[in-house]
């Protein structure tokens, strides 16, 4: 087991280097230096001011020097200082924003798990039935709908017309003065729509995978033999089939991280959530190179961790699969 984990970790290292190289190259191929937004078309700045800012940010070095500087700092998880006027360390800015993005993503993944698995199982067991058809359409609707559109519709319904839920943000204005329970309730009310939406739109992948796995498993010989033994159908389904079908679904965990992160840009913008997705978008628009590379690296890193956890979890859970 340990050897397996170590092997997987070692596989991760060149991946990380590859990631850093690709993101660095991408950014430096891009036209538009980072100081442009601050001084361009600003009647109060002049060429001298700009040159000063350029030297200040270290952009006058040759490109391989810049990459080496970046790589050696990345190894220490030091992503440097953000190019934006506040000049704070990138790691600090990311650390501020990660919790809320992770919270929403973890909660929605949990929601997806809770709903997708039974949905997939029943769809498989009752393949072709009305239930199967309806759930397929529902699940795919979530997948097919432009998320910001649905978000606005729900905001109008629950926020403006019914006034049940807040429209955007993650805390009410008087959050600071609430007690612990009050704070929890407030946070829950604010996150309800985003999590529901993220869950609804992400349901399809998991539930369809569950369904197709279940379908495959049901076909297997050992299920037929369980039935032949005279076991009640419920036991056949839950005890035998499902347990085997669920396992591969765990591997999807790691794969869903990049998609969830990518989707967070839209979510966080429409719901005014100060998370990593929003930060990335701002970084791109202001050519904040260290920030962009930092977030891409962290994102890829999170994916690697997700994959690793999923693989290990799968190996642990399935006694048949024992890695050498």
């Amino acid at each position: 087991m340990l050897r397996y984990v170590v092997r997987r970790l070692m596989w991760a290292v060149p991946i990380l280097v590859g990631i850093s190289l690709i993101s660095f190259l991408m950014i430096h191929m891009a036209p538009g230096g980072p100081i442009s937004v601050g001084t361009d078309l600003n009647p109060k700045a002049t060429a001298e001011t700009r040159a000063r800012l350029e030297a200040y940010y270290g952009l006058d070095q040759p490109i391989h020097v810049q990459y080496w500087r970046w790589l050696s700092r990345m190894a220490r998880l030091d992503f440097g200082a953000s190019f934006s006027p506040d000049g704070r360390p990138v790691a600090e800015k990311i650390r501020e924003r990660i919790p809320i993005t992770l919270t929403i993503n973890v909660l929605s993944m949990g929601l997806i798990f809770l709903v997708a698995i039974p949905l997939g199982v029943y769809s498989a067991v009752r393949k072709g039935s009305l239930f199967d058809r309806i759930s397929t359409v529902t699940v795919f609707t979530g997948f097919s709908i432009p998320t910001f559109w649905l978000a606005l519709l729900l905001m109008i319904l629950f926020g403006v017309k019914l006034r049940w839920l807040p429209i955007s943000g993650i805390a009410s204005l008087d959050y600071g003065s609430l007690g612990a329970m009050g704070k929890l309730a407030d946070r829950a009310r604010h996150l309800l729509l985003p999590v529901l939406l993220a869950g609804f739109t992400g349901l399809a992948g998991m539930s369809r995978y569950m369904r197709s796995n279940m379908l495959e498993v049901i076909r297997q010989d050992y299920i037929a033999s369980a039935r032949a033994k005279g076991l009640p159908e419920r036991k056949v389904v839950f005890r035998h089939a499902m347990r085997n079908a669920v396992l591969p679904v765990i591997t999807i965990l790691g794969l869903s991280v990049p998609d969830l992160l990518g989707g967070s840009v839209i979510f966080e913008t429409i719901f005014s959530i100060p998370g990593m997705g929003q930060l990335f978008y701002q970084g791109v628009m202001s050519r904040d190179y260290p920030l962009i590379m930092g977030i891409l690296t962290i994102g890829a890193f999170l994916t690697l961790i997700g994959n690793l956890l999923a693989d290990v979890g799968y190996a642990l859970a399935d006694p048949r699969i024992r890695p050498e």
């Binding site: 001011t49 700009r50 934006s84 506040d86 403006v160 955007s168 204005l173």
Partner: protein, 546 residues
């Protein structure tokens, strides 16, 4: 807090959403006040919405409008613009300009304290000046201060700035936020100081907290030298999406925001809306234009530029893009201000006249497209992505020009790429952009022939020796009449030469929840007297602990 000055320090890009034209006179409000005793009372909070997060509180080292507006609650400059856009003293109770125009003496107020209790003196002004010209300070606003030949603080309440030559825009530059020496002197780079995140100023509001990406909170400063503000708390909520912000307005999550023309004209025309909100409208300090690269073979010829000006249907632009909430622009100045010349050559929509001019310039019509020397009249106009108003402007102009046989392609580029690849490298044929108009009429950096270097702002390449001289004259005297003459003549020349086709000046369209009283619309807008806004006791929404 001083909105016109803040705008003078910001970029035009931020005018994205603040599109509305202004109509020169006093703005109107549309709405009813509630029937309760209208007596100023202390208390309540005003919640504003902001699309962008702020990046810091020290205006010298930030350049976005959101940051400058936030800083305006906490800091003051020596001067600011009043409701009629005339300079008035804030931290300076008065000033004199020497007869030769080379020396400005500021007499500072004696009753001002920093929010931590320390007294405000001329050494703070001196300190601010030194930092503005210090190379270690990453500021974009140092140039006006570099013109100072010598600065001195003869006593704690007098500050003197001497210039090599009379420099009229200098006065405006002293609207820059004055920094506390005692809190910043140990930081060689003020952008790295804690004050950039936790400001301490002399202004009407004290900083309470800043949750990045979420909100900024200020509480009223009870010792403010102009009197304690009535509104006890100001909260700026960061809401990156316009649609979301509007929904927040409807549900009471924000109290004020800037509306887009369709929102102003249609979405909020119901009686329902009028019951809870007051809408305001005033001429914004910005204009949108179509700029030509003057070295381009097509646009070198003045007649071509004038023809395009005749072909452009500015009324359709005002009606279509601004829904009538604005006015046509004839030059780079805000109508209704002292430097604005209403009597320049105008270009009403006249496709026939346009065609005649183009024919004169050698263009012949062939199958609906103009051709000269075998080349069809086709060009690409660039503008920045994500700006709805500019995209609509481009679409209308495309139709206008097609009518006279000119084929204009539209290309939108994301802002940072736009500036770097095209503007800075002068790699464009024509652009649709806008400028914010600062109250001081000096526009040297935009029109002077020396400002055509890479990354400088005369990117169209305008060079007119008469205008050059007038620009120099205009900025080197404090005599209002002399300046006015110079700027009037400049506008006449610009109207004749059309280096830009000046398109429109939008209206600003703020809306405010109507429990908030005390708003007095003026030429400068509505926020110049924010410290006098109040909510009558009975209508107060946010109960705050004292």
């Amino acid at each position: 807090m001083n909105r016109p000055l803040r705008r003078a320090l910001s970029q035009s890009i931020v005018m994205l959403l603040l599109l509305a034209a202004c109509s020169g006179g006093k703005p109107e409000s549309a709405g009813k006040a509630a029937a309760v005793p209208d007596v100023p009372a202390y208390g309540d909070a005003v919640v504003e919405g902001s699309i962008g997060d702020i990046s810091g509180f020290l205006s010298a080292v930030t350049s976005d409008a959101a940051s400058h507006e936030a800083a305006g609650y906490v800091f003051n400059g020596l001067v600011r613009y009043d409701k009629d856009l005339k300079l008035e003293g804030v931290l300076a109770r008065s000033w004199e300009v020497s007869p030769d125009g080379k020396k400005i003496t500021f007499h500072l107020r004696r009753d001002v304290k920093w929010q931590d209790g320390a007294p405000f003196t001329s050494s703070d002004v001196m300190f601010t000046f030194q930092r503005m010209i210090d190379p270690k300070t990453p500021t974009a606003y140092g140039d006006a201060f570099k013109q100072v030949k010598r600065a001195s603080a003869p006593d704690p309440f007098t500050f003197v700035a001497e210039y090599a030559r009379p420099f009229a825009p200098a006065l405006e530059s002293w609207g820059m936020d004055i920094l506390p020496k005692h809190l910043l002197e140990k930081y060689p780079d003020i952008s790295k100081s804690p004050l950039n995140k936790k400001p301490v100023g002399t202004g009407p509001y004290r900083f309470v907290e800043w949750k990045t990406g979420e909100k900024v909170v200020f509480d009223a400063n009870p010792d403010y030298f102009e009197g304690k503000p009535y509104i006890a708390r100001v909260i700026t909520r960061i809401i990156p999406d316009q649609a979301t912000m509007f929904l927040e307005l409807l549900s009471g999550g924000v109290d004020t925001m800037d509306l887009t023309p369709p929102q102003f004209a249609r979405q909020t025309d119901t009686a329902e809306f009028g019951k809870s909100f007051n809408k305001y409208k005033y001429t914004a300090a910005a204009f949108t234009y179509l700029g030509f690269r003057l070295s381009h073979p097509f646009f070198k010829d003045k007649r071509v530029r004038q023809a395009i000006a005749y072909a452009a249907d500015k009324k359709a632009l005002v009606d279509g893009v601004l829904l009538g909430l604005g006015q046509e622009a004839t030059g780079p100045y805000k109508p209704g201000t002292w430097a604005y010349n209403p009597n320049v050559r105008k270009y009403p929509h006249d496709p026939l006249h346009a065609k005649a001019l183009l024919a004169e310039a050698g263009w012949k019509e062939k199958d609906g497209v103009l051709v000269k020397d075998g080349r069809p009249f086709e060009f690409t106009v660039l503008t920045n992505a994500g700006n709805e108003a500019r995209a609509k402007t481009a679409a209308i102009l495309q139709q206008n020009l097609a009518e006279v046989g000119i084929r204009m392609q539209i290309r939108t580029v994301e802002w940072a790429a736009f500036i770097n690849q095209f503007i800075d490298k002068r790699d464009f044929e024509a652009v649709i952009l806008g400028w914010t108009i600062s109250p001081d009429p000096d526009q040297y950096v935009i029109w002077h022939s020396s400002m055509t270097g890479p990354k400088e702002l005369n990117f169209v390449g305008f060079a007119n020796s008469e205008v050059d001289k007038l620009l120099e004259d205009g900025r080197s005297t404090f005599d209002l009449e002399k300046r006015k003459k110079a700027y009037f003549r400049i506008q006449e020349i610009l109207a004749e030469e059309q280096p830009y086709v000046f398109l429109y000046v939008p209206d600003a369209l703020p809306v405010v929840q109507n429990r908030i009283h005390g708003i007095r619309p003026a030429v400068a807008g509505i926020t110049y007297n924010f410290i006098k806004w109040y909510v009558p006791k009975a209508l107060q929404k946010y109960r705050l602990e004292p």
